[in-house]
Amino acid sequence: MARKILYRDAINEALDQEMARDDTVLVMGEDVVGGTGTNGEMDAWGGAFGVTKGLYGKYGDRIMDSPISESALIGAAVGAAATGMRPVCELMFIDFLGVCFDQIYNQAAKFRYMFGGKVKTPVVIRTMYGAGFRAGAQHSQCLYNIFTHIPGLKVVMPSTPYDAKGLLIQAIRDDDPVVFCEHKALYATEGEVPKESYAIPFGEANIVRKGGDVTIVALGRMVLLAGQVAETLAGDGIHCEIIDPRTTSPFDEDAVLESVGNTGRLVIVDESNPRCSMATDISSLAAQKGFEFLQAPIEMVTAPHTPVPFSGALEDLYIPSPERIDAAIRKVVAYG
């Protein structure tokens, strides 16, 4: 029987295997080891959620804690990447991009173009996103849209342990800068993951579920919710096709258009805020290149245009719920 491991452990395994394979791979971040300089245990944390734990024992100085100086940290990763290393740098929460964004979009993302194609910057920025932890407005955002907007970055959003491992291995081997977005609520999810190393190519969506009535494009954790809803709807004779793009940049336009070509109906499920977002991006794709297929208005199920509220009572209303997804699908299917 195939081995099942946690999403968190799949990421750890990808890092481990790549560090073993290629000694230019470095891991750095705040408390990715934990315990540096203290009188207690080293490798005390392995990151805020224990994802990198154990690597220090194997790779020593190739996994490095950092002062709380994200600009210098990420910039150092970028500079190291441009001069021969393959750093995997953790930006603990994606919410913190505001203190280091320049090094990502003005430096790493633009080097190759600005420098006439003569440089490669194989840096991976691993970061946590998403709501549901009662972590408040500054620790629960999605913000991957912002990275996706920027030419020169690749943006990855694994929704399963299998994808997490394969996409991270690809990210590390990829010669372009990659932002690797991990939903914190997925860390404890389990799935089948081969022990051996494998890479999942970027820009190839995963058709999570086949169905002819409506196309659902879901991102990150929303893929799981969409799956639940589709399961129930199947009982009512509504057959959903679920597409997980896996990477938002590059984006697998063909997969979406082909599916919409079959179903004529599109629902997008995206946990992020709704303006200038992946939800609008996918929706606009369909309105341009899939117009002839569309038989109903597109529906977007997203968070509202508000910060993430702290109170669990509100946060549960903020995050797209199975009920809202269900309602959107039924609405689109019932149309016309």
């Binding site: 705040e30 408390d31 934990g34 315990g35 540096t36 300089g37 203290t38 009188n39 207690g40 245990e41 005390a44 944390w45 805020a48 804690d65 950092s66 002062p67 709380i68 100086s69 994200e70 600009s71 210098a72 919410d95 913190f96 505001g98 203190v99 932890f133 009662r134 972590a135 408040g136 407005a137 500054q138 620790h139 509202p304 245009h305 508000t306 910060p307 509220p309 702290f310 109170s311 669990g312 009572a313 509100l314 209303l317 903020y318």
Partner: protein, 324 residues
């Protein structure tokens, strides 16, 4: 020991420190029971800092805080009932449940907000100091931040800006030895963080943050300097936290007996009480009376927070804008 402090001041200081301590111990216990959601960073052990500093501030002076903000809030006069309800995400919370532990703010009390972003507060304190300067009202703004935040670019920039603009601003770095699980002795590249002050042309001082009187004196000097147009000061309080970085931290990065020894030998409240009873007319029973009152207060805050109702659907979309 500053002479300016009256018996009343000292009893108030004791009450504030004890309120912070009991508040944090209470939150710790309830969190362990699974009653409190989210990321919670406790201030227990560091009470002398917030208390000794804020006693020098007027109500209309402002402080900017950080993720470990409960102590700063209480010392600046934020209502404990509202705080507890906020931590529980309830309607009666200081922020009506929308903020949580990391975002308690009360501008009416001069508290500009706890802050989830390390280094988020110092620029904001510069802004409040600018307001005071522009209004010419003799107001002062003060930023509390940690040793970890002392390495954040936003903090350095604020030190420079405050100096260049000659702002009535005070920077208090609470060096508790750790940023999460990383030692400040490793992550901060100089001996004392206050040594950085010279690079910004300001006075820097490192004090024993367990010592209420040392804190009070240093802060008094700095606040007066700021109020009188003498510009910013950097104060480093060296102190210890009793709990983990946040709740749920097993603290294996600390030496085995570290916390026990700190609690036994470096408890700022015990130390303060000893000095009070030894050197002033304050008696042990005065303190015990306060202890009792504080316990009642915290118990009441907890009970009301638990009993309070959560916000509802109508609250989700409000308060994003004033008009839109």
């Amino acid at each position: 020991m500053t002479t300016a402090l009256s018996v009343e001041d000292l009893l108030n200081a004791y009450r504030t420190m004890k309120t912070i301590r009991d508040f944090e111990e209470c939150v710790h216990v309830e969190f362990a029971k699974g009653e409190i959601p989210g990321f919670v960073h406790l201030y227990a052990g560091e009470e002398a800092s917030a208390t000794g500093v804020c006693m020098n501030l007027r109500d209309d002076d402002y402080i900017a805080s950080n993720h470990r903000g409960h102590g700063h809030c209480i010392a600046k006069g934020v209502d404990v009932h509202g705080m507890m309800a906020e931590i529980y995400g309830k309607r009666g919370g200081t922020c009506r449940g929308k903020g949580g532990s990391m975002h308690i703010a009360d501008f009416d009390a001069g508290m500009m907000g706890a802050n989830g972003i390390v280094g988020g507060g110092p620029p904001l304190a510069c802004g409040a100091a600018l307001t005071a300067k522009m209004k010419g009202n003799g107001g002062v703004a003060l930023a509390f931040f940690g040793d970890g935040a002392s390495n954040q670019g936003t903090t350095f920039e604020s030190l420079n800006l405050a100096a260049v603009w000659k702002l009535p601003c005070v920077f208090v770095v609470e060096n508790n030895g750790y940023a999460e699980a990383t030692a400040s002795s490793w992550a901060v590249s100089c001996e004392d963080i206050s040594m950085r002050a010279e690079g910004f042309g300001m006075v820097g001082i490192t004090i024993d943050g367990h010592d209420f009187f040392a804190v009070h004196e240093a802060a008094q000097e700095a606040v007066e300097r700021a109020r009188n147009g003498g510009g910013p000061t950097l104060i480093e309080c060296k102190l210890d936290r009793f709990f983990g970085h946040c709740e749920d931290d097993n603290q294996s990065y600390r030496a085995p007996n570290e916390v026990r020894e700190i609690r036994a030998n470096k408890d700022c409240i015990k130390r303060f009480a000893t000095v009070l009873t030894a050197n002033t007319e304050i008696t042990n029973s005065d303190l015990v009376a306060i202890d009792g009152e504080v316990r009642v207060l915290i118990d009441d805050a907890l009970a009301k927070a638990v009993a309070d109702s959560a916000p509802g659907a109508a609250d989700l979309l409000t308060d994003v804008y004033i008009t839109y």
